[in-house]
């Protein structure tokens, strides 16, 4: 399992983004964070990131309900243009609608559907699943 250093958070709720970053740091799930408030800015930003680094952040966390371009649209574009083998993408959403969960399954690169609120408990489980066991 690859180590997770760089984490991209796409969410329009700054409080959530703040809290999430703190949690992820505590859990050692990433040490460098990029934040985009909607899908459009995220796509543009990630294209630039990819050109510069010829790679993508180790983990991309995307919310579903966002203004301008929502999470679904972002995932469509991302899947077509930027996705690479082994890329980790999680959906983090307050939606508990079964329809959303089904829809998420259409994107094979989406590895997790994480419900808000994110708790330290949930993060511990994710860490166990995805981060380097040594850390």
């Amino acid at each position: 399992m690859q180590e997770i250093h760089k984490v991209c958070i796409i969410d329009d709720d700054p409080i959530f983004v703040f809290g999430l970053q703190r949690f992820l740091k505590i859990a050692h799930l990433g040490d460098e964070f990029i934040h985009y408030p909607n899908g459009k800015l995220a796509l543009e930003g990630l294209r630039g990131y990819h050109e510069e680094h010829n790679s993508l952040p180790d983990l991309i966390l995307v919310d579903l309900n966002m203004p301008v371009m929502d999470g679904w649209q972002f995932l469509e574009h991302f899947g077509r243009e930027l996705n690479q083998e082994g890329q980790l993408v999680f959906i983090i959403s307050s939606s508990i609608d079964m329809a959303d969960i089904k829809r998420a399954k259409k994107f094979p690169f989406v590895k997790e559907f994480v419900y808000k609120p994110v708790t330290s408990e949930k993060l511990k489980q994710l860490v166990a699943k995805y981060s380097d066991p040594v850390v």
Binding site: G19, N65, S94, D97, K116, P117, V118
Partner: protein
């Protein structure tokens, strides 16, 4: 031998004479059976003599009517015995044309043998068909007259002014119920008429007939010989001889029944008219051509016209143009006999131009020969119902819209609140991690509790919202026991914790119709409730059983817990956010949702409970197989 030639000559003369008449002759030797007939005899029944040869005793038998043969034989017998001077009988013979012709058959013994026995009989046949037919016709007419008199109850009488006695016919006697035989004296006859106007008018009429020769025709009452009161029609016609009246003859007809029927008819007509006039619904008689014949008051009110105005309108004029054709079509079908009646909802036009919604019911009356007489129409004003219906429809639309908005609102609330509350709890979590000493603050646990409470509320709210969007999914056959076991597993920790004794008596193989998620939720809710509201005074027990009650399978969940005062809480037991126990985390939304879920899979819930004894829920599921 002069005598013989003389005799022969005489016979020939007679024969010539007879030939010129219509009389057929016959001669019959009784001893030998030899028979002779003349040409005329053969002619009477349409043959020539040679055609009937050989003539013998069978010849007559071939033609005679079987009914007359016996009579003829008897008459011959009597003559042969010497009882009669002549043989005479009217008999029918079959003519060549197939018709029966009547013959007057006469004969006499003309010679006897040496022993003195009759030898030769000579006789003649005369065609009397014409007379016989007239006689029969007369008899027939007489019978007919008698019969019609009888049927019409018409009797005849004839008053002789010389004797002042009246001859009366049988029917007259029957009508006046007069038992004494013989003619009836005038004064007694007059006394039969009922005292008062009837009697005085009859006396006046008879006097007038005698004095001025005037006929009369009166309806009056009489009291019969047996004391029965009757209505009769009395007709009298005077017969004058040289200007003086000698006789008065006339008829008497019993019209009691006719009068009674007439008055009944009048009564019925009156009743019909009353019903028609005062009916609470509009009624009309309409000619087959579509013109009003009769309209009642209510119909006038419905349409706003006076009776005179309405009678001058055709039905098409007071019908909404779009509804005329349908009405005419149905009317035609009635006339053509394709249907007995019809009913339709249509629009009429009120005198003031507004639309009146009506229900029209029409049937057709025919006479005894099946010719259409008129339509009977019943018209009910349903404008108010129609308006009410429209109002209900618009209310329903408003309600739907509001419901949609509410649902939308609930969606937004649940989503947005969830985000914020999520943040709250996340931040609290973080504070605890990063600033552990802040958790020692008195406010911190309170803040945490509030957040959790808010979170739970939102999650319930969300269940309600998602419930509404999950309807109309197809139901599966579910094994009740599998789901119960699963629910018990989920609740295992709570069950052990509270020391609940579970007794599961649900038979194997109970299949019900349902949605898996709902059944899970329903079972967990009931079981959770049963555990939560256990009595601290007893060891908690939950008994589960199932029985079949077509078309349901009833799951019974019985506990020995606190119980619910149904008198107090029954009505709101399944209401949203109702709690009945002092219990802190009592959540009413559970039962509300459960009830909705059970109903969504076409089931129902019954509850029976006694405070401090326990509660039994009977949950009806659609049965999907035999237990």
């Amino acid at each position: 031998m002069h005598g013989v030639s003389d005799l022969v000559e005489r016979i020939q003369r007679y024969e010539q004479l007879l030939e010129s008449t219509e009389i057929g002759t016959w001669e019959w030797n009784v001893q030998t059976g030899e028979i002779r007939i003349n040409e005329r005899w053969a002619n009477l029944i349409g043959y020539s003599l040679p055609e009937l040869q050989p003539v013998n005793s069978e010849t007559w038998l071939r033609f005679v009517h079987p009914d007359d043969r016996v009579r003829s034989d008897q008459a011959i017998e009597r003559h042969l015995k010497g009882e009669t001077e002549f043989y005479e009988c009217e008999t029918r013979l079959r003519h060549r044309n197939g018709k029966w012709v009547w013959m007057l058959d006469k004969g006499k013994i003309v010679s006897r043998n040496k022993k003195g026995e009759p030898e030769w009989l000579m006789g003649s046949h005369l065609d009397i068909t014409y007379r016989k037919e007239r006689e029969e016709l007369l008899l027939h007419y007489n019978n007919l007259l008698d019969k019609s008199n009888e049927v019409a109850r018409i009797g005849t009488w004839e008053l002789n002014l010389d004797t002042l006695y009246a001859k009366v016919s049988r029917i007259t006697r029957e009508i006046i119920e007069w038992e004494e035989e013989g003619d009836i004296p005038l004064n007694k006859g007059i006394e039969l008429y009922k005292e008062g106007p009837s009697r005085s008018s009859v006396i006046r009429a008879i006097n007038a007939a005698i004095e001025t020769g005037k006929s009369f025709d009166k309806e009056c009452q009489l009291v019969t010989g047996k004391g029965t009161e009757k209505w009769v029609r009395a007709i009298g016609i005077p017969e004058l001889e040289n200007g003086t009246c000698k006789r008065v003859y006339g008829l008497v007809q019993d019209i009691t029944e006719k009068n009674r029927m007439h008055s009944e008819l009048v009564l019925k007509e009156q009743q019909f008219r009353n019903t028609f006039e005062n009916a609470p619904n509009g009624m009309a008689l309409i000619s087959p051509e579509g013109n009003w014949l009769m309209v009642n008051l209510r119909l006038c009110e419905i349409l706003g016209y006076t009776e005179e105005e309405l009678l001058q309108k055709s039905f098409a004029e007071i019908t909404h143009p779009d509804d005329v054709e349908r009405d005419v079509q149905f009317g035609m079908e009635l006339i053509e006999g394709k249907r007995e009646s019809y009913q339709l909802e249509k629009r009429n036009i009120h005198k003031n131009g507004s639309i009146v919604w009506t229900i029209l019911a029409v049937s057709l009356v025919r006479d005894s020969a099946g010719i259409p007489l008129h339509f009977i129409a019943q018209i009910n004003d349903i404008t108010r119902e129609k308006q009410a219906h429209l109002e209900v429809a618009s209310l329903l639309a408003v309600t739907r819209e509001q419901n949609d908005r509410l649902l939308n609102f609930a969606h937004i609330v649940s989503h947005n609140l969830r985000s914020h509350v999520g943040n709250f709890s996340m931040l609290l979590d973080l504070i605890k991690l990063e600033v552990p000493e802040s958790a020692d603050n008195d406010f911190f646990p309170l803040l945490q509790q509030s957040t959790e409470g808010l979170q739970e509320t939102i999650s319930h709210l969300n269940e309600v919202v998602t419930f509404n969007s999950h309807q109309f999914e197809e139901m599966d056959d579910l094994d009740l026991n599998t789901f119960v076991k699963n629910a018990l597993n989920v609740l295992n920790a709570k069950i052990l914790d509270a020391g609940v004794e579970i007794e599961n008596k649900i038979p194997q193989g109970c299949l019900i119709k349902g949605l898996p998620a709902y059944l899970d939720s329903i079972l967990i809710n009931f079981l959770t409730n049963a555990i939560k509201y256990r009595s601290p005074e007893r060891k908690p027990k939950i008994h589960l059983s199932a029985i079949k009650s077509d078309p349901y399978l009833i799951l019974r969940i019985r506990d020995n817990g606190l119980g619910i005062d149904l008198n107090l809480h029954g009505a709101k037991l399944f209401g949203m956010y109702k709690t009945f126990h002092g219990n802190d985390d009592a959540r009413g939304v559970g039962l509300f949702l459960t009830k909705n879920q059970v109903e969504a899979i076409k089931g129902k819930i019954e509850v029976d409970s006694q405070v401090n004894v326990g509660t039994t829920f009977n949950v009806y599921f659609l049965n999907a197989g035999d237990p």
